[in-house]
Amino acid sequence: MPNMNNGTMRELTYVEALREALTQKMRADDRVFLIGEDIGVYGGAFGVTAGMVEEFGEARVRDTPISEAGIAGACVGAAVAGMRPVGEIQFMDFVTISMEQLVLQAAKIRFMFGGKATVPMVLRMPGGAGTGAAAQHSESLENWFVHVPGLKVVMPSTPYDAKGLLLAAIDDDNPVIFVEHKLLYRTKGHVPEEMYTVPLSQTKVVRQGRDVTVVATSIMVPRALEAAETLAKEGIELEVIDPRTLSPLDDAPIVASVKKTGKALVVHEAVKTGGFGGEIVARIAESEAFDYLDAPVRRLAGLDIPIPYNRTLEYHTVPQVENIVDEARRLARGEF
């Protein structure tokens, strides 16, 4: 959808795209408010809400004490009682303190009450390594939430999707875990000025290719695209797919792609064991794509260790572009 602005496509960073979504939505809907640690005058640890308290005031851009269980619970309660809260957990790691309210309350209230209540809340949080912040500030815990029916899990990889998915998440009548990535915050891309939504549960084929299907999430999407450029020079064409919403998952485009390529690689940053990649592999194995496979389905994911502080160790703990290139090349060449 080309949006011409002074003759050029307007570019925003991922952070700016998120801020624009929140700002436009708060102007349009009084029920929406923000709640979290240091989101007011500080502007959020990563600057997502910078300047918003000046426009909307301290009630709607509400700084909290350091109380992650309380933040999650306040979102649940406000949502059940008619508001549309957007909470921020400063680092995804700290959502471990919010788990009871999310897993046992937010996710289950609608079902337990016979479908008579809704919990329209969004909880935003940045995950991921790469900043040297070590083991307690670098987690990628998205699959914990994928395992909980009743929660939706969204992971945008571009500024365009960040804005559109956040607006869709706020409109959604279910609790949505919205996982951002620290290394994506400064990335730039085209973002239309108007309010638009990117529907939840719509997997996107972001690059067409005939040789290998690469399913990637979050920061791994740009890395997979870069790997695809490298391999294209060798005549290997990757088809890169971004689920965008991890749960409920739209797996049809993945199955269709694997039927075409016969080869699949799943790439994510979270540790491999028990990660989202296992779910994708299982969906492929259970589907009609199984008969079309020419090679084992591969997973490239974080090592099964906490994120180390040392720069070199940290770098080698999660998949990098060169790892994707190697793995996809070997798949394409039939080396597995």
Binding site: T64, S67, L303, T312
Partner: protein, 325 residues
């Protein structure tokens, strides 16, 4: 605030011991400044939380305990580590992610532990160490030793649920815990005025049947006295104490803080209450003596940086080590 320095026994923390403690404070100050420089030069990465301005609390508290006791530290914990006796060499090496660091370069600033010296580590999670103190206290009780555990945390940590659960358990089981709250007036951008509807954080002890005291955290002797008393209480089987130390962090919360939530005047006012010259004057030291101690402290930091720079990086082949015992 009452100046308790005058009332404290000079015999305990005056004289030669006092000079050692003062040099510790100076070492902490220079250590933090150097850490920040190295960060700016790109030699240290990640994030770090400096305790400049809070040296009086760290040094006063550790002085009242032995290395047979236990320490659970905060994210703003370099000062407590040094006061507990950790070497700046291995701390600096940890900052640079070196194999010779306290955590073999795996933990970094927020996770420095010196387990052999019963320093059970700093914590990247606000209030993360507070419930752990209950378990350490239980262990001491089961083993019937005369040890105590001191858990250090900020004002912000007392608004986590874990803080409240910990205090209550410690109280009903009379555990030998010293809860040391460093109230430096802010949790990141959240001032204590905005985060609390009570006068003093020490009042929270009352809800759990625990004595709560507030002291001037920039007064080494006041902190020392309070911790000494809490230790005696714990060893007598009377249970935990909550100590609130009023102090101030001079620098931003971490590397990326514009400090829009406070004024320069406020920072300057607190800088006038610098705990280091204050303790020096309590010790009645001459300018020459003070200058010599600064030189010693600076020498320790120079040595630490050289040690860290000369140390090897972890070997990449060891990347999977250390997850399981």
């Amino acid at each position: 605030m009452v100046d308790t320095m005058a009332q404290t026994s000079v015999a305990e923390i005056g004289g030669e011991r006092g000079r050692t403690l003062l040099r510790q404070m100076m070492t902490i100050r220079r250590f933090e400044e150097k850490a920040q420089d190295l960060y700016s030069l790109g030699l240290v990465h990640g994030t770090m939380h400096l305790s400049i301005g809070q040296e009086g609390t760290a040094v006063g508290a550790s002085a009242a305990l032995t290395r047979n006791d236990y320490l659970l530290n905060t994210h703003r914990g370099h000062g407590h580590c040094l006061a507990w006796g950790s070497t700046p060499d291995r701390m600096m090496a940890e900052f640079m992610g070196k194999e010779t660091g306290y955590c073999r370069g795996r933990g970094g600033s927020m996770h420095i532990a010196d387990v052999e010296a019963n320093n059970l580590g700093a914590n990247g999670i606000v209030a993360g160490g507070v419930p752990i103190a209950v378990g350490v206290g239980l262990s001491i009780q089961f083993r019937q030793t005369d040890q105590v555990v001191m858990v250090v945390f900020g004002d912000g940590a007392t608004n986590e649920g874990a803080f409240h659960e910990s205090l209550n358990m410690a109280s009903i089981w009379k555990l030998p815990i010293i809860y040391l709250c460093e109230n430096n007036q802010y949790a990141m951008s959240m001032s204590v005025e905005r985060a609390f509807n009570i006068e003093r954080i020490s009042q929270r002890g009352c809800a759990y049947g625990i004595p709560g005291v507030t002291v001037d955290g920039n007064d080494v002797a006041a902190v020392y006295e309070a911790v000494k008393e809490a230790k005696a209480r714990a060893q007598a089987g009377e249970g935990p104490t909550l100590i609130e130390c009023l102090t101030y962090r001079w620098r931003g919360h971490s590397k990326s803080d514009r400090q829009a939530y406070r004024t320069r005047e406020e920072v300057r006012e607190w800088q006038d209450r610098d705990p280091i010259p204050r303790f020096a004057s309590w010790l009645s030291l001459t300018d020459e003596q003070v200058g010599a101690l600064w030189k010693e402290a600076e020498g320790l930091i120079e040595t630490a940086v050289s040690f860290a720079q000369a140390s090897p990086e972890p070997d990449l082949s060891t990347i999977l080590e250390g997850v399981y015992a």
